[in-house]
């Protein structure tokens, strides 16, 4: 049974107040939203994804009052493009996404380094070390290196606000997009944040400059050189940035950044050690001259950062200039893990080993006793809510295929359907991959093949895969679980809901229309609660010679869809299609 608790009713309009010096307890993501507001941001775009979602969600609630244009874009690539267009028109723009969203948007990011931007363009990448809500724990600082663009990394909500402001300034100064790299433990940490002054919005106009903006090879070659020159200037900014700070004394040095800085401070206290510390806030380009100065002032150094040894490698390169005078410790020797999130304990354990000290607590004893408790503690995985329409859809799929189908599933609440007792879902990779995967499976098996995808994910990433299926005639059933919201990330609207980010009614994009336009001939819309019809429809779809689409439509139990939309959905599709379904079950004609 799912118990309902009392939820917070916090008024996000508190963020609109222009009262510098006022203190509020904010999530890191809320602090980014406030930072953008203080920077006079004009356009905010996003596609929701944990741990980035609250940035867009917060802005969506204050956008109208603040005069900000905010949209949930169909995917992160589009979000980045819309923000880039705004920036190139002179406005300040912010595109927020979770780290895997930047994979989707990376094509834009790299090209945008070449063209550059005009108004400040900040790209927020919220990384997820330890995979709290993600399929991987990639380190997006690599994107800053790959695209040759600057990257700032805050360690707490206050810095998240300040660095958002600075990222806009840096972006305008260099005419380059700037990545603000958050991690779950900054995005979802609540801390005391002091408000600054809200700047007025700047507007501009688009200025034609084809040599810079039209990336044909002839122009791109020159743009690459300009990009590298800009990064030389970024290097100078990094060397004097207030975000790269040296503190503390001693012959032992620590280089760290972001959330790891917090763990370092407390880990040193825990093992009773002191260190001279270099905290790096501008992680790309790192301040190499400052690092060299820092290394000259100490005898030995440890580099503490989550995930990849990016700063560690930089420090090793710089240390090379000191002819082996200084020992560098880090992930290479195994003092700190290259996976998962760090903690005070993990950093203390690594530092204690390096410094030859003992830990003031017996972790093995804690592990031994918790193992005892764990023996009687049943696991509690997340699950679909009671009454969830996905459960009904999965039951229909199982019944129709007798559990024998190969199912390529996708990203959303329904991913949880892979767990027993439903056990529907044999693979999931990334947003929208289900269509292409199902096509591949269908070529090499005689078992029935299904793709399962949610409504928001379908519109985000499935459409090219579906067109491909029609074009190359791949035989599989693509089941779209349309619960009329983006449920997993907090019930954001999407093009299929008929409402905008700021709650206005708009053109509703029907999935069945899209499927037909993609060239799919067999398209049906069914209420998954009509179990018999649902099963029969899947079975009929499986008998088609090519790809087919079955939309299981019923709103998420957690939302009340605006009445007119749900009514519209019934009027436009359900009854007619239900009637068609009955007809079509007898004749195999394409009646939908």
């Amino acid at each position: 049974m799912l118990m309902k608790g009392l939820y917070a009713l916090r008024d996000p309009r508190v963020l609109l107040q222009d009262r510098p010096g006022e203190k509020h307890l904010l999530l890191g993501n809320e602090a980014v939203a406030r930072g953008a507001l203080e920077a006079g941001v004009h356009v905010v775009t996003t596609y929701p994804g944990t741990p980035a979602s609250e940035i867009g969600d917060t802005v969506s609630q204050i956008a109208d009052d603040a005069g900000i244009y905010m949209e949930y874009s169909t995917n992160e690539k589009v979000a980045m493009e819309v923000a880039a267009g705004a920036s190139l028109s002179g406005a300040r723009a912010l595109a927020a996404m979770k780290m895997v969203g930047l994979n989707v948007a990376s094509d834009v990011l790299v090209a945008l380094g070449y063209t550059g931007v005009r108004g400040g363009h900040v790209v927020v990448s919220a990384d997820d070390p330890d995979c709290f809500s993600s399929q991987d724990e990639q380190d997006n600082r690599y994107y800053a290196l790959l695209a040759n663009i600057p990257c700032l990394e805050p360690s707490n909500p206050q810095e998240a606000l300040e660095m958002t402001l600075s990222a806009f300034e840096m972006s305008e100064e260099l005419q380059l997009p700037v990545i603000l790299r958050m991690v779950t433990r900054v995005s979802h940490t609540r801390g005391i944040v002091t408000f600054g002054r809200i700047q007025k919005m700047k507007t501009g106009t688009f200025v034609r400059d084809p040599k810079r903006l039209v990336n044909v090879p002839e122009n791109a070659r020159g743009s690459h050189r300009i990009l590298l020159e800009k990064m030389d200037r970024a290097q100078a900014i990094s060397e004097r940035s207030v975000y790269n700070k040296i503190s503390g004394t001693g012959e032992f040095g620590l280089v760290t950044s972001g959330v790891s800085y917090n763990y370092c401070v407390e880990a040193l206290q825990l093992i009773g050690a002191t260190a001279r510390m270099l905290k790096i806030g501008v992680v790309n380009p790192p301040p190499t001259r400052l690092i060299l100065e820092f290394l000259r002032s100490i005898q030995e150094v440890a580099v503490v950062e989550e995930l990849e040894p990016i700063l560690e490698n930089q420090v090793r390169i710089v240390a090379g200039e000191l002819d082996g005078r200084i020992a560098v410790h880090g992930k290479k020797e195994g003092f700190f893990p290259r996976y998962g999130e760090l903690s005070v304990r993990l950093v203390a354990a690594g530092l204690a080993k390096i410094l030859g000290r003992s830990l003031p607590f017996n972790y093995e004893d804690i592990v031994r006793k918790t193992t005892e408790a764990a023996k009687i503690t049943p696991p509690r995985p997340p699950m679909l809510c009671p009454g969830c329409p996905h459960t009904a859809s999965f039951r229909a799929i199982k019944a129709a295929t007798e559990g024998k189908a190969i199912v390529a599933t996708d990203i959303g609440c329904y991913t949880l359907g892979f767990q027993p007792p439903l056990s529907v879902g044999d693979i999931f990779l990334c947003m929208g991959a289900s269509a292409g995967l199902a096509a591949g499976f269908s070529r090499f098996t005689n078992d029935p093949v299904l793709g399962v995808v949610g409504d928001s994910t379908f519109l985000h990433g499935s459409i090219p895969g579906l067109i491909n299926a029609a074009y190359n005639n791949h035989k599989f059933v693509y089941v779209v679980l349309d619960n009329m919201t983006t449920a997993m990330t907090g019930h954001q609207p999407h093009p299929g809901t008929g409402t905008t980010a700021t709650g206005k009614l708009t053109k509703r994009i029907l999935i069945e229309d899209v499927a037909k336009a993609c060239g799919i001939e067999y398209v049906r819309v069914v209420d998954p609660f009509e179990h018999k019809t649902a099963v029969q429809t899947i079975q009929e779809a499986l008998r088609q010679e090519g790809p087919s689409v079955v939309v299981f439509r019923r709103p998420c139990v957690q939302i009340k869809a605006p009445a007119e939309i749900w009514a519209g959905s019934i009027a436009e599709s359900l009854p007619t299609d239900a009637q068609n379904d009955k007809r079509n079950l007898r004749s195999h004609s394409n009646g939908a």
Partner: protein, 203 residues
Amino acid sequence: MSSRNVDIIVAGVGGQGVILATEILGDAAMRAGLEVIIGEVHGMAQRGGSVTSHVRMGHGIYSPTIVEGSADVILGFEPTETLRALKFANQETTIIMNSKPIVPITVSAGTHKYPPFEEAVKQCKNFTQHVAVLDAFRIAEGVGSSMAVNMVLLGALTATKLLPVEEERLVRGIVEHVPAKFKDMSLKAFEAGKIALSPRQSA
């Protein structure tokens, strides 16, 4: 009021209102002039999964997570979630545990067993003797709504006198954070939780 740092683990099930409880705690501490850091869990885990919030208040605090074996209080919204949080306990830790189980899907599906309540208490006492239990669900129902379990537990936490924050600040936090129509009921739940955790209630 104490000036030392206080680390509180709030452990529960997604949907129980853990985040609201920690926000109220955090706001109250901020207004008391303390530094506050709360490490929260959002996203997938909220679909009925385990949720653990780390609430830290005091001075000179940095880490958004509490070190294993160093929590001052574990506020357990559910017995097995309390067990899952025991790695943060030491022999000085105070554990406040709601006795009302929320059965996870692994138990209803028959792959795992839900432990008897006495077993859960025994495991807690393996770490610390300061274990207090209350049926926050029943108490919440008694004041009008089972939804107010989080408010009952906040009241119980206040009764321990371990918070470096005046009770009035928590009350004000409840008034400001809870939707208006639940305000009176929430305050009653808070009061009932406080009364329930008088010393004789210790297990």
